[in-house]
Amino acid sequence: MSSAVSNQARPAEAGPARQPVPGPASTGTGTSGAGASGPGPGGRGPATDYSGYPLVGSKHPWRWVGTAAVALGVAAVAWSLATNPRWEWGVVAQWFTAQSVVNGLLETLKLTAISGILGFVLGFILALMRLSASPLLVSVSWTFSWIFRSTPLLVQMLLWYNLGYLYEKISLGIPFTDVRFFEVQTTTLISQFAAAVLGLTLNQAAYSAEIIRGGILSVDQGQLEAAAALGIPAWRRSTRIVLPQAMRAILPTAFNEIIGLVKGTSIVYVLAYSELFYTVQVIYNRTQQVLPLLLVATLWYVVITSVLSVFQYYIERHYSKGAVRTLPLTPLQKARKFFATHAVAPSRARSPR
């Protein structure tokens, strides 16, 4: 090792006059005197060479104490869940994959996907309207958000379902004239499904509009200016420069919304729409096994949310490219790194090559 050789080449350094820890505090006062003349005792000579010493990371004993305490708590909860017979795990297992429950689950997923996608598309349009220079577009967008955010979703849902009472027929034509291209009975158009999608979508659009607008606003104006100065066309400016950067601000809240929507779909039980929650209600009203069946629904919601969280992690990671100096490791990479550093003896892993 070259460091060891150079250490011996300067025997004066190893003398007892030399302080073992050269720090600014210890040498600072000595410099003013004979310091500049050379590597004399107490002077500011070349620092002692520690390059042969192994490096040891700092220890975090309290982190381990905290980890142990939390682990104990988790174990206790798990134990009580497993051993208390009133949870009736057998009943849970029996219903978890029952055909009716799975059908309900599929309905829930369908509602979430459709109203989530439509809601965010409409929200995107509303956000652009709100950011446009036209006062009319701005106020229409503002009013939309205002109305749909200030009325309970439950009420909206019931209103849509009962639209037939307010308007018997729905027709498409030229406003303020008698020209009608097509006309239909409201009750045939607004099924349970349509009312559910309509209610969830419009409500979702109102919220996601604000999320997307916030994301767009968070992008530095200089970015748009630089792009404009380079002659990059407006559409390309939005899609290539602004949106990818806005996504970083949009994604965490957007996933919050989507996860909220998964469970929010349970509100359509008021329309007797047989999604997951309504289905288990029907079942436990019949079998009187209330808690186990609620547990079935809960577990499914947990599963969906977990899957979404994994997606969220990777999508966010994708959009953090360039925004963070080094990309965070994926869990897989983290695990590999953990085994690479901890599986071998710590002294070997830490010492310099």
Partner: protein, 298 residues
């Protein structure tokens, strides 16, 4: 150098612009581009440009001509409107009065009847590809690598092929000494390196005119010289340069015209020798007496 000699007092500039204005109008009206021989492209004529933000008038009738291939350095106290003037040159900032012409073509407007109509966005964008701009705070796209930053505009604004833009991008990064960092994201680069990428990005469109807003304000002294060399080379290559800077040593080095601005007006302009050694206006003298000393001591 000839530019500097031609215009010493502001009065001369004024008369020069009157002819410039008519030339610009007739050229624009006829739809003809005064595209002369290669070294003569990049004539910038700024005529009586006014700009206000609310009640404050930031530019109070600026008239300035920069000859093709000339290097004009704009100096002046903070808030005097230097950045604003630069931004009007590529129409990032709309003027309230006056006009700017490049090689006889109005920037951002066209003459119809006896009015100046603002051009459509598409045409403005096309004009901007001939005017490169390097910003005070770089404004690199943080989610794109150095090379992607440089290669983006040639593809979407000039319709070059991706491969061609990439090759040219690497060439330009090489020229600013950053070829080996082509794949790095801006946040992984030092401030000085970021500014050099920004210069490469502005060069990628092969502009007639380059606008620099304090290009060296974020560079450490060692890098200033590298950038200076790049800029000198650019000056020789016949690109017109308009540079705003607070670094007087740099200004003296690279300029052939130095323009001193204060409170939205051009107080004085001339060759670096004239302006630095023998300023005529008391306002110029008092400004330089404050800034020059530390700059020249380096």
């Amino acid at each position: 150098m000839s530019t500097a000699a031609a215009q010493t007092a502001t009065g001369t500039g004024q008369t020069a612009t009157v002819t410039g204005q008519t030339a610009a109008e007739s050229a624009a009206a006829a739809g003809v581009r005064t595209e002369a021989a290669a070294p003569t492209r990049g004539l910038v004529e700024i005529t009586k440009v006014r700009k206000s933000f609310g009640a404050t008038e930031v530019l109070k009738g600026i008239t300035l001509t920069v000859e093709p291939g000339g290097v004009a350095v704009i100096v002046g106290p903070s808030g005097s409107g230097k950045s604003t003037l630069l931004r009007t040159i590529n129409h990032l900032e709309k003027v309230d009065g006056g006009h700017i012409a490049i090689d006889g073509t109005l920037v951002g407007y066209e003459v119809r009847g006896r009015r100046l109509h603002e051009l459509r966005e598409k045409d403005i964008l096309k004009q901007r590809t001939e005017i490169g701009m390097v910003f005070q705070n770089f404004n690199l796209f943080p989610h794109l690598t150095a090379l992607e930053n440089v290669a983006e505009a040639p593809v979407v604004a000039q319709g070059r092929s991706k491969e061609e833009a990439r090759k040219r991008g690497l060439e330009l990064l090489d020229r600013v000494g950053l070829k080996d960092r082509a794949g790095a994201y801006p946040r992984q680069l030092s401030g000085g390196q970021q500014q050099r990428v920004a210069i490469a990005r502005a060069l990628a469109l092969n502009p007639k005119i380059l606008l620099f807003d304090e290009p060296t304000s974020a560079l450490d002294p060692e890098l200033v010289n590298e950038v200076l060399d790049v800029i000198r080379e650019l000056a020789k290559s016949g690109t017109t340069l308009i540079i705003v800077t607070h670094e007087m040593g740099f200004a003296r080095d690279v300029a052939d015209t130095v323009v001193f601005m204060d409170e939205g007006q051009i107080v004085e302009q001339g060759s670096p020798e004239q302006i630095f050694a023998n300023p005529q206006e008391p306002r110029t003298r008092s400004f330089f007496s404050k800034v020059l000393e530390p700059a020249f001591n380096i």
